[in-house]
Amino acid sequence: MSILHTVNKSPFERNSLESCLKFANKDDPVLLFEDGVYAVLKGTSAEKQLEAALAEQSIYVLGPDLAARGFSEDRIIDGIEVVDYAGFVELAANNDKVQAWL
């Protein structure tokens, strides 16, 4: 059963994203929101980790959280998809369950 994984913590503060990527099954989508959005920016120390994950699964970022923090979509790693809250709901509905990596 597929799982939507959500991460709302900056990768520079907590290991939520690291654990998420370690335990998420291949093909399970990951959504970054709230302070989790800092992980999707180009040129950070988390970039390699994200790029490796992108080879196996889809990664999404919540647009409104990115905009609130002052980053435009051209700053994010290629292949990461931007969604709004409606898209967040669709991801939750289209997967069998949601796991929040708090």
Binding site: Y85, F88, A92, A93
Partner: protein
């Protein structure tokens, strides 16, 4: 699809309640059902009617109440005589609420408190309501820290 929402953090301190609100609103706008919004841990603080944010800020508590009103986040039960009881499904955990001083009339009486502060669009109930929501809903979505 039937969603259950769990909110673990208080308003203003964390974004959890804001994110949960926009998620819930989007789900309702798409025609999904929201079976229950359950407030746990410091999340119970979302249920006080005494919240008074500055005028230029959002009122998180009222915003939940208005959404629940608009989309009828509520349940209807019938007794044997066919009388309907409508109750809100913005549910605050009683154990977590007692610790943090979120009080309704029943709790005030039981515990000898001189005031209540629960918002009329919220109700206080047991943790079993969270477990039941997880059983009844197709998805449980947790917002927290």
């Amino acid at each position: 699809m039937k969603f259950a929402i769990q909110i673990n953090e208080g308003p203003y301190q964390h974004q959890a309640s804001d994110s949960a609100y926009f998620f819930t609103k989007a789900a309702l706008e798409q025609g999904h059902e929201v079976f229950r919004v359950f407030f746990y841990h410091d999340g119970v603080n979302n249920g006080t009617r005494l919240t008074t944010p500055p005028q230029d800020d959002r009122n998180i508590v009222e915003r939940w109440a208005e959404l629940a009103d608009q989309y009828k986040i509520q349940s209807v039960t019938k007794d044997e005589n066919g009388n309907e009881t409508v109750q809100t499904e913005l549910v605050v955990c009683v154990a977590a609420a007692q610790r943090r001083g979120i009080v309704d009339e029943g709790e005030a009486k039981r515990n000898g408190k001189d005031a209540t502060n629960i918002h009329p669009k919220f109700r206080i109930s047991g943790l079993g309501q969270l477990v039941e929501a997880a059983i009844q809903a197709d998805r449980l979505v947790v917002f927290g820290d």
